[in-house]
């Protein structure tokens, strides 16, 4: 039986969050959960309080996200593009995770009404592969956050249907040189460049951990089971960033259900056009089951 999941009460997740005002934000006087960059310096600090989240983007801004799930207070005005980036790529996933959604740092592409979720750390190549797929008859969902929901079948919904690429990735996909000023070295890619976007929840055909490969040759796919599959999923979630120990038990349980219901694997993708092309062929194989 086909189910029109996109009409089944779904709404565009990113419509939930907006900046309600600019005001001083007090940093809580207790340890935060820190995210570290490659140089082991904190670039983000998160405090999960009983009624709100406080998130410090070190050197950029501090935000307060209230538990009404909609309003954000920033401690300073930001350029629109930067504000939108912080809301969509950082605050919204954390807010959704805090509300109980199972949220992973991932891109989403779909074909024939079924989605493949591409988990990966920043710089793994999610956006580039998503863009490549969009130019090869896949529908782009998004490139940075996905909400996963249990059921029969499990479904995946992009946090927001955006795609941002570096100038290098745009060139790799034969897209024109970007215009204007990018944000952290990336530029928005519109539907006119990579085809239509999907927004609603779709059945999940597979979840893959994307890993850049230093090798040449075709992309490599290794399907996983058990703890290895669970570990791939767990490392992709936003929940540990919240430091909410009680919520993690539910996350572990739901990820186990997901690992037992949906194919999970590692996809090693060599840099370059040939790597992307072979990776896209492997995604079609995953879709075909």
């Amino acid at each position: 039986m086909d189910t029109d999941l996109s009409a089944a009460g779904s709404r565009h997740l990113s419509a939930d969050l907006r900046v309600a005002g600019i005001a001083p934000v007090t940093l809580p006087g207790r340890p935060a959960v820190e995210s570290l960059d490659a140089s082991r310096r904190a670039w983000r600090r998160v405090w999960s309080l009983p009624d709100r989240l406080v998130v410090e983007f070190v050197g950029i801004a501090t935000a307060e996200v209230h538990d009404d799930g909609r309003s954000v207070v920033l401690d300073r005005a930001l350029p629109p593009q930067l504000e939108r980036h912080l809301l969509d790529d950082h605050l919204l996933p954390l807010a959704l995770a805090r509300k109980g959604e199972l949220v992973v740092h991932a891109g989403l592409v779909s074909r024939a009404g079924r989605a493949i979720v591409l988990i990966g750390r920043s710089g793994a190549g999610k956006s580039t592969l998503v863009g490549h797929c969009g130019r090869h008859e896949w529908t782009v969902g998004g490139d940075d956050g996905v909400a996963l929901r249990g059921g029969s079948p499990w479904t995946a919904e992009p946090i927001y249907p955006g795609l941002r690429l570096t100038a290098e990735s745009r060139a790799l996909l034969d897209l024109p040189r970007p215009r204007g000023e990018g944000l952290f070295g990336k530029w928005q890619v519109g539907p006119q460049e990579t085809g239509p976007r999907s927004q609603g929840p779709l059945p999940v055909a597979g979840v893959l951990l994307l890993e850049p490969s230093p090798l040449t040759g075709p992309a490599q796919l290794c399907m996983l089971r058990g703890v290895q599959a669970h570990a791939v999923l767990f490392q992709g979630t936003f929940h540990p960033d919240l430091g909410d120990a009680r919520a993690l038990e539910s996350v572990v349980d739901r990820l186990a259900q997901l690992a037992e219901a949906v194919p999970v694997g590692r996809l090693g993708v060599p840099r370059g056009r040939a790597g992307l092309a072979s990776a896209e062929h492997l995604l079609r194989r995953v879709l075909a089951g």
């Binding site: 058990g226 703890v227 599959a229 767990f234 993690l248 038990e249 572990v252």
Partner: protein
């Protein structure tokens, strides 16, 4: 009930245990330490936290058809690792 009829080990407070297929995930939620056990490791831990030690080890030696000295050594390696990771606690005798 004597101490010899109780399990010798218990999962540490704050540890979440979950089977995934035949394997097992252990997560210390406060320390955010994640550990995975293969099917045999999962079976060993399950028995050690639910059965008295001698009964658990006798049953494991029988079920896996392994010499008791080899089993004792392998179990010691596993329990030491889990104790060091804060995922397992020894149950005090006489408790």
């Amino acid at each position: 009930m004597t101490s010899h009829s109780r399990p010798a080990f218990a999962l540490s407070a704050g540890v979440v245990r979950r089977r995934v297929h035949e394997e097992m995930v252990l997560l210390h939620v406060d320390r955010q330490r994640y550990y995975g056990l293969d099917p045999i490791g999962a079976d060993i831990v399950t028995r050690l936290v639910t059965q008295p030690p001698e009964a658990a080890l006798d049953a494991l030696a029988r079920d896996y058809d392994v010499e008791r000295t080899v089993l004792d050594r392998d179990v010691a390696v596993l329990t030491t690792a889990l104790l060091d990771a804060g995922l397992l606690d020894r149950v005090p005798r006489g408790h």
